[in-house]
């Protein structure tokens, strides 16, 4: 599902670099990103989709796949399954809950079992019947899409593959919606992604007045466009237009984090720093940040029995809860709030970075910032963790 552009020239926003050689360049705020400025024509196709073709295309897709898109429900938007003829509501900045539940449901059945001793298979777990039919997610923001590639690192290791997550991810086509007006709490550009970023997307839609421009990024995206009947290619300057809009959107980002020192400082050094008490004091150890976060993935496995039959399910879990690390003996290595809060930030901004060397485990969507009941701000914590010299606690 990764983009397969031919990278011929890579330009960064502000710096003059050797235009012949592609390389990774640190952005002006310290995170590594690849800026794609100009791609040769044979690398990427751009289609134009008029409003009337949009609705028709969605109908056609809906005939063979599950279609999901953002819909307003009460006061906010969330991804829901679209009914026949139902159009996604793109009048939103981002959904309240992240779309991670499309690939990774909050409660997922893993196995069935029966405890009926007359059944020859009693007490033996049987794989549950799953439905991995194709689904298309329309209008996912680039930050949430990139989150999938970060989460995939966890569920797809050389030794063990999480069959549920991977199968569902493989059957999902991600059609992104570029952000023209990022929120004031979005810091995607310094978290390895951006409002027009194409990682993990199969198609990227750029909304204009009366039409969409659609960048076809992968074979899956190409196949989807065919099914939908979206075949009209945009003019030769479409890519340039997109680049202009992208730069303008990136210019509207007002929130940044600095992470250039995170790689070099040792984990134990950051672990022992004195500000954790101040950072963790207000935390109420609810699960809001972890459940809303598109890159958080921890889960709990439970058996639920009713009469003689039962299921083994997995549910989202949160490292914020004291039960998360409780041993059977009663010993709890993270029994104190400070230890749990520190664990969350260390995992997202340091341990993950060290383990995979693919950037931090955060895409800057800003949900935890906006919905933390006590306003613990990951941007502030990152700033503290990134400091290279000893500083007083208060800032």
């Amino acid at each position: 599902m990764y983009t397969r552009h031919k990278i011929l020239r890579i330009l960064s926003n502000n710096d003059k670099i050797d235009r012949e050689k592609p390389f990774f360049k640190k952005t002006y705020k310290g995170q590594r990103t690849i800026h794609l400025a100009k791609i040769e024509a044979d690398g990427m196709k751009v289609l134009k989709i008029k409003k009337e073709d949009w609705a028709k295309g969605l109908e056609k897709i809906g005939e063979s796949c599950r279609l999901l898109g953002p819909l307003k429900d009460g006061e906010f938007h969330n991804f829901k399954e679209l009914g026949r003829g139902e159009l996604p509501d793109f009048n939103f900045q981002n959904t309240r809950l992240s779309p991670k539940s499309i690939v990774y449901p909050q409660s997922e059945k893993m196995f069935d079992y029966t405890l009926d001793q007359n059944d020859p298979d009693h007490d033996i777990l049987k794989e549950a019947e799953k439905n991995y039919s194709s689904q298309v997610v329309m209008g996912i923001r680039p930050c949430d899409a990139k989150a999938f590639s970060l989460v995939k690192l966890n569920f797809d290791s050389p030794e063990y593959k999480d069959i549920y997550w991977l199968k569902r991810f493989e059957s999902t086509t991600l059609v992104g919606l570029a952000c023209h007006n990022p929120c004031s709490s979005c810091f995607c550009t310094s978290a390895g992604t951006g409002p027009f970023h194409s990682e993990a997307l199969d198609m990227l839609l750029v909304q204009e007045q009366d039409r969409f421009l659609a960048q076809i990024l992968t074979e899956k995206g190409e196949a989807l466009a065919k099914i939908a009947g979206w075949t009209i290619e945009a003019g030769s300057n479409a890519q340039e237009q997109i680049t202009t809009m992208k730069e303008s959107a990136e210019g509207r980002i007002t929130s940044f984090i600095s992470g250039e020192n995170l790689k070099n400082k040792s984990a134990m050094e950051i672990y022992e720093e004195p500000y954790w008490e101040d950072v963790s004091f207000s935390c109420i150890n609810c699960g809001t940040c972890t459940y809303l976060c598109p890159t958080c993935w921890c889960f709990d496995v439970q058996d639920e029995t009713c009469g003689n039959c039962g299921i083994r399910i997995r549910n989202w879990d949160s490292c914020m809860y004291p039960l998360f690390s409780l041993h059977g003996s009663g010993h709890n290595p993270r029994g104190q709030k400070l230890q749990r809060v520190r664990q969350r930030f260390m995992h997202k901004l340091k341990y993950f970075l060290d383990k995979y060397d693919e950037g931090i485990q955060c895409v800057g969507c800003g949900r935890c910032v906006r919905y933390c009941p006590v306003n613990i701000d990951i941007r502030r914590v990152c700033e503290l963790m990134n400091r290279s010299e000893a500083c007083p606690v208060t800032i």
Partner: protein, 315 residues
Amino acid sequence: MLEYTEKIREISKQLLKDCKVDMVIGFRKGTIPMMNEPTFIKSANEVGQLVWDSNCGINLANYLTNRKENIGIIAKGCDSRNICVHLVENKIKREQLHIIGVPCKGMIDKRKIAALFEKEILKVEENGEKIVVEGDGTVKVFEKKDVLQENCAICIHRNPVIYDDLVGDLVEEQKDVDRYEDVRKIEAMAPDQKWSHFDDLLKDCIRCYACRNACPLCYCPTCFVDESRPQWVGKSIDPTDTRTFHFLRAYHCAGRCTDCGACERACPVGIKVRTFTKKLEKDVKELFNFEAGLDPDVRPPLDVYKTQDPEDFIK
């Protein structure tokens, strides 16, 4: 209420200088509009961080449970009632506390204001009784009384019931307030109507437990939803389990809940959690004529037996 900030800082500074307390728990300015972050100050020269405005809806009594230090705590009406409940329930000792009482005129409801705008709110400023909100490319001005949190609009205990210092003059308590209009509306529904009302209310619940954790009353070392021997409640988002959690939590708070609204404020998906606790508050008031947290020497009704307790429901 912005003028309270100076007084809060002054009192806190003196307390810390005189070593009367080890720390002062209050709010510091938040990083996004309409939010402040609870914080603790341990040194007199850091009191400049403390602020007070109409975004201080979080119940600071939540941070007192089982602490051993001497604490200066900033408490508005509902917070001070929760401190009384803590005293009754032995979660903290009176001698440990220096209560900085705040006569409160209500906190603004960030959801109510957000719902009046299409896009993001960029800035919110308080100007006396007016709230100035910038968003959607315009600036709108609201009367504070029109955008109060729901529990604040019907509050009848705005003044702290227990305090060592006051940061301002006591405010007039609201009179003739119908606290249970919403509860009666639901009580009047037919059973299947009620069922679908509650189903609808709880459909978005993601079992994050923000409501439980924001509540000062929910301090059980192991909450009933986390027990495994026996396991009372499933951990999935199955609607039966979700209902069990909310209903049972409301019952555990019956006779103790002060309607501070912290639960509703904390919910990330905007569930009106107070629907359940208000019903039980009404029942306790009607059956036992009791309101929680008004007197640290009076035990709640579900804790004591009196011979004249109503028993017409016992068949």
